[in-house]
Each structure stands twice: as structure tokens, then as C-alpha cells.
């Protein structure tokens, strides 16, 4: 494994929307070694503060090998992300990673990459990888509204070729849910692979689609984590037949192992 605990310099930190930020961190190892779907554990506390105590897990949103850099896309939801959002360029963050297994990247048929909300982060990484490998794929992003992160939508529309966006309020792309868009696409591509990350209700809706059409799928899960490396057994998730540990068995799982 390539994982390592290191201080990474903040190369860039930008607001993408009212509560969403994109941060670019320097690390040769992660830029070169990370796979789509992997994550890092970031220590957000400043100075000698011991609160917040735990590191925060974030998916690698994409890498930039030319700058020895990787990106994290995050939403401010609590104390940790709020402190993170105040970090300035040139400061350093302690980063443990890359962690976890990552998505399957050796599938030859059509794949559909489905991201919902901030679950789009690892999906973007995967889409960029597939694009550079010229593998057959389509990236479908479902958001609430373009207003949530207008700057990011602009980046995505520029950088990701095979992208389709759905928004609940119709402010960008097709109005509606990502699963509706997905279903109309997979109908004609049963021998495809769906790879997805997003909120649980979205995953459950996709599970119905895959069951209906008998499609293979992979999903990425979240759980509260203390260590991110398999020490504490805190990141348990109740799969269909067994409890899985998201940080070491995942975060990417065969969808059929998780949902019925």
C-alpha cells in the first residue's frame, strides 16, 4: 500500500458555491498513486487545538499529476468543515492517504458513473480517468440546484466530455432526478457497469433499477470514521449479509452486497 501521513501544502482553495469549497493540496504520492474512489483523512484542527479531535474523511475529487496535486471537494456541514473552509493558500494540512480500495477501473463495456450531491467528488475522478483512457462511459450528475455550486458546474461542463447533469429545480441540465436519467440510459445497455456515490435514498433508488434490469453496480459508502485505516472498527455498515467496515473493506462495494 502507498498510504502515508504527510503535511500537504494548500495550493489553492476556492469557493464553488454558498457552502461548497474546492481545495487543492500538494502531494506527489497521492497525485501519482491515488485511484478513483479512494479517500484521505484530513486533520482540520489549528495550532495545538485538540478540538475537533478526529480527522475528517474526504474523497479524492481528482488529481493533477503535472502539479503533484490532488483536489478535495467538500461541503461545510459542521465544525470540522467550517474550520477547514478558513484555511488559506500556503498553509499546511496533515493528510493520511490514499486510503480504501477505489472503484473498478478495468471494465471494457459501457459504464455509467452516477454522482448525487457531494457524492460527485469520486465520480468526477473516475470520469476523468475513463476519459483519459478513452473507455466507454457516461457521467450523470444529479444535484438540487446549480445555485449549490455554480462555479463547480462550470468546471465540470468544461472538463468532462460525456456528462449529463440533472437538477431538481431545473436550473441546469435536465430537470428531475438523476435516477430517471439513469434508467432511460441503462435500459438499452444491460451489459453495463454502474458506479455511483451519493446519498442513501439515491443508492436505494438505483438498487431498484439494477434489480429490475439485472445490472452490475459498485457504490461508495460513508460512515463516521475515527482512524480510516482499520484500527477502530468504528466505520461499520450493515450490508445485506454481513457488517462491512467502510474504511478497509471499502469505501467501494459491490452494490448487491449492500442492498437487496
Amino acid at each position: 500500500m502507498l498510504r502515508k501521513d504527510q503535511w500537504c501544502k494548500v495550493l489553492n482553495h476556492e469557493k464553488m458555491g454558498p457552502e461548497v469549497y474546492l481545495i487543492c493540496l500538494e502531494s506527489k504520492e497521492i497525485a501519482l498513486g491515488a485511484r478513483p474512489g479512494q479517500f484521505v483523512m484530513i486533520s482540520v484542527n489549528r495550532g495545538d487545538s485538540k478540538d475537533p479531535l478526529l480527522r475528517r474523511p474526504f474523497s479524492i475529487a481528482w488529481t493533477d499529476e503535472s502539479r503533484d496535486a490532488f483536489y478535495i471537494l467538500y461541503r461545510v456541514v459542521g465544525r470540522g468543515t467550517s474550520i477547514l473552509s478558513k484555511i488559506k493558500n500556503g498553509e499546511f494540512l496533515k493528510v493520511l492517504g490514499p486510503l480504501g480500495n477505489g472503484f473498478n477501473t478495468i471494465w471494457d463495456e459501457q459504464r455509467f458513473l452516477v454522482g448525487g450531491g457531494l457524492g460527485i467528488a469520486p465520480i468526477i475522478f473516475l470520469a476523468k480517468k475513463m476519459q483519459s483512457k478513452q473507455a466507454p462511459h457516461k457521467c450523470i450528475i444529479g444535484i438540487r440546484s446549480k445555485e449549490d455550486f455554480p462555479a463547480l458546474i462550470d468546471i465540470l461542463q468544461k472538463d468532462i466530455t460525456h456528462i449529463e447533469i440533472t437538477s431538481e429545480d431545473g436550473s441546469v441540465g435536465i430537470k428531475g432526478l438523476v435516477t430517471t436519467a439513469l434508467e432511460s440510459l441503462v435500459k438499452n445497455h444491460r451489459n453495463c457497469l454502474i458506479q455511483t456515490c451519493g446519498p442513501i435514498p439515491m443508492l436505494k433508488a438505483i438498487s431498484e433499477i439494477v434489480t429490475r434490469y439485472g445490472i452490475k453496480w459498485e457504490l461508495s459508502l460513508e460512515a463516521n470514521m475515527a482512524c480510516g485505516v482499520g484500527l477502530c472498527l468504528g466505520c461499520a455498515f450493515e450490508g445485506k449479509n454481513r457488517i462491512v467496515h467502510i474504511c478497509k473493506d471499502g469505501p467501494v462495494f459491490d452494490g448487491n452486497e449492500i442492498f437487496a
Binding site: R3, D5, N224, I243
Partner: protein
Amino acid sequence: METKFSPDLTTTLGPISLKNPVVLASGTCGYGIELSDLVELKALGAIVVKGISLEPRPGNPPPRIIETPCGLLNAIGLENIGIDAFIEKKLPWLREQGITTIVNILGNSIDDYKRLSAILDKADGVAAIEVNISCPNVKEGGVSFGKTPEGTHAVTKAVRDETGLPLIVKLSPNVGDITVIAKAAQDAGADAVSLVNTFLAMAIDIEKKRPVLGNTFGGLSGPAIKPIALRMVWEVSRAVQIPVIGIGGITQWQDAIEFLMAGASAIQIGTGTLISPDCGKKVVDGIRDFLRQKGYKRVEELRI
């Protein structure tokens, strides 16, 4: 100005001697192997593996952890692979690596503890047994023994009768007077006591109007509990003659020095490793530097 000698970091816990007083606590370093690419485990005094029971246990339903101010609340529920799988799949690697391995055991009955000790007594590569009678995260067994001097005495004696292995009894802080429990362990033949395990605690999700943890209650660890743990170590060190291992909220070398000054012969790091895998190594270095800078030749000179 600094004296440039090399202080002696070894410490003895009754029958065992450790190369330094820094030990990784049970439940926070897996079975060792999970950490092996991130830290050099041999640089530590010892590691205590995740609590082992006779049968594998699935643990508690999620969510199992939540952060609190300067603390970690967990209800893992002693998920573990069971003693047989441990001995077959985990112990050999630890032995080959030359890692001093302490095995933390947990049972539902005195008989469970007896059988676990008998099995470990025959295994190869066990430096000591740490008897967990203090985990707040399982409903039956375990913790109830640790609540009374009688229960503590009974479990300790049962294990003592089964094995000549060095025997550490791990105490719960969820008691009125921890010195009474420590003395019971000593009287029943413990070679050392380790304290503290986690504090029974909880958190409520105000949006969902229900306890955060799947198990309702969990155990609180981390810097938040350090001042209480330190007081208990101070008290127990003055109440018993056997060595005391200090545990609770140690995340930096200064914390370790406080526990060693309070009377501990060694310390364990739990949550600290979860936050930073190299926490233990840094604590070892920090203790060495502090001893050198202050001119102490041995760890035990720190004791107040």
C-alpha cells in the same frame, strides 16, 4: 547545556520488561498488522491487541462512533475474530515481527475467562494477558465483574489459576472508588493493573431525537478524560504495590510524562493512535528527550 547521555527507557511490569513504557491500547491498534506499513511497531514497548472472546463477535449496530468535545465516543461492542482465529491467523505474524504482544481478553462468564487464559497459556508469542472487565459496550458479562471488588477478585483469580503468564487487570473508571477494585485485583494475584478503560457516556442527535449511537451508550476516550484518568492513576499508584499502567487521553509526550509522574510504570495510547498512527513513536521520542534534558537516567525517576 544539555547532557548528552542516553536515558534508559526500559520499564518492568512485574514479570515482564518492556523496552520503553509506551504501549498501544486494546481496540485502537487492531491486531497490529493494520498499522504495520505506517509505524514501526517494534519501536514501541508493546501492543495490546483488540479484545478477544472465545467466539467471534459481530459487534454493535452502527453508528458506532461519534466525536465529542476533545473526545471520542465509541460503541464498537467488542467485535473480534475469536480466540481460535486470533491464534491461528494473527499471533504468528506478531511473533515473527518480534512485537511484544499483550492479549486483551473478554468473556461473559468466569468460565469464559478461564478457557481463554488456558488457551493463551499454551499459545506461543503472548507476552502477557490483559483481562478486560471494564468494557462498557456490551450488555452482559465483562463490565459487571469490574464494578465490584468481589467480581474483580473472582475473574482475576480464575485467570491466575489457569496461567503463569504475566497478568494485567484492566480497570473501569465507572466506579465510586477505583482503589478498592485495584486492591482486589492485586489480592487475587494480578501482576499489574491498567487503567482506565472508557467512561460510560452518550450523545443525542437532536435532529433525529434519539441517541446517536446504535447502542445508546458508548465509552468516552481521548483528551477529554485525561484529567480524571490521571487522578485515578495517582490514587491507585498510592494504593497498590503492583505496577500501574496509565491510560486515558494520552496524545502527546507531555501527557505521558504526567502519567509517569503520577505513578504509572508504563502508559497506553488509544485514541491518540486513531488520530495519528505515529502517535506512539512520537511519545517514545518525547519521553527520551525529556529525560535527557532534565537529566533523569531512568523512567521511574519521574515518579513524584
